[in-house]
Symmetry: C2
Subunit: 270 residues, 2 copies
């Protein structure tokens, strides 16, 4: 089984909750990678018997570090309409809510469509060398990062930047071990961009994502057409101030269609 | 009392919930304006006895139309840490959850700061004529809209656009009846941009905001410095497809500091 699917394996408990367990392949410095938490919560919503429609919006608030080991997800039906469903989910470790989420599922049809924002013009993924992550740890080894702009590789071992670097990155992102794109996969990738503070400062203070909202613009057919090919991602920040910074990402298919956008707010200690 | 503060008047009920009532000044075509719902939910979180810190993030999912009349807000403590607090709120009308929210409050300090995104260069608000909204109804009459770009005034009474118009707007926004800016006021204004579909198509199909996330980048001192002066707002959309479109806004102080960003996903029937 693919490591991603192992990480997302959930079993129904007698009390109706879903049981899961962290795996080291998706760990980070302090616990579990936030992207895999988002993907797990989305999958838990999609597993509900009454779940209908495709993911439209997912907000995850990261409320406590997730420790290696078991967790349980409780699910709340907030409102199930014909067109839209709203689900609420808590990921618990013992009595602690470690993450809480709102998931919206919706019925999509072949409506009027328009794409004001075009995908950036970039070299094809096969012409971009992936970052060497062979000595990295945790989740980042699961992905191939083909940076067109905004790699931090040249900053490794260097002192912090006096003049802030650009917060922008442009990259092709894919699983190292190929896996066809689905909604949980896209949710996970929507958080797979290094926290912008690292790139702007080349410093590693205590930091973490506080809240992540992913908006889905693709239907299942678009994801199927994408398959396991790399997706094109553009990431940037607007402001760093008072211990928090924002970070927004656009994620494009190989054929230049916007699949998802994500918006997060990050806490940092410095 | 200012209409905005009347709309946000909440009383503690015997069961611990907060009771409120819609007012026509903040109505819209189908019920209550989503911005005032967001502001009310944020105020309800800030009213909690244990609430500490400034708003960092607010996500509101609009789960049912809010009918004119009474509502009750129940509040859930998800996690109260020293640096961050996470609150969950439901706005109920009878047994129906009409809106649900996640609120993050945080302790801000004078951290390292950096603003990669500069405010757009625009004429001062006193040099921009406000839109004539004297024959409008509901919430939009509460605000003065000084459009620098992307007004839809010239489209009124005209047929739908064959070629999609720009989704972008740039405007100074303020209360018609001046009111010093605070966090609920900013939350409300973060939704006070006409749904982009109207501007792009000049059509009014059934539509509504599904989920709105507002990220706060200002502290109370910055809001106090802003006072009742107009804020500069930039709004745009990336994609309209499969009955949903996105919409992001940046909101700047009179002195060019980013106060908040908002990201919403809108459902439309067309």
């Amino acid at each position: 089984m693919h490591a991603f699917d192992r990480a997302l394996t959930l079993h129904k408990m007698n009390d109706g909750r879903l049981a899961g367990e962290t795996i080291p392949e998706f760990g980070n410095f302090t616990g579990q990678f936030g992207g895999i938490t988002a993907a797990t919560l989305l999958k838990a919503a999609l597993m509900q018997e009454k779940a209908a429609g495709a993911p439209v919006s997912l907000t995850v608030n990261y409320t406590a570090g997730i420790k290696p080991g078991a967790f349980a997800i409780s699910t709340r039906t907030i409102r199930l309409g014909r067109t839209l469903q709203h689900w609420g989910l808590d990921l618990m470790q013992g009595d602690v809510v470690a993450a809480t989420a709102l998931v919206t599922l919706g019925q999509r049809s072949d409506s009027w469509a328009h794409a004001p924002l075009a995908a950036p013009s970039v070299p094809a993924p096969e012409n971009v060398t992936p970052l060497d992550t062979s000595d990295w740890k945790g989740w980042s080894r699961q992905y191939a990062f083909r940076f067109i702009e905004g790699s931090t590789a040249h900053l490794r071992g260097k002192p912090p930047l006096d003049v802030p670097g650009s917060a922008r990155s442009l990259l092709w992102l894919s699983h190292v071990d190929p896996r066809p794109l689905d909604f949980p996969g896209l949710a996970c990738m929507s958080d797979a961009f290094f926290v912008r503070l690292l790139q702007v400062r080349n410093l590693f203070p205590a930091m973490g994502t506080v809240s992540l909202t992913t908006q889905f613009h693709a239907d299942a057919a678009m994801l199927a057409a994408q398959g396991a090919a790399p997706i094109l991602c553009h990431v940037d920040s607007r402001v760093f101030r008072g211990n928090f910074h924002d970070q927004s990402a656009e994620m494009w298919s190989a054929s230049g269609e916007l699949l998802a956008t994500s918006h997060q707010i990050v806490w940092y200690a410095e």
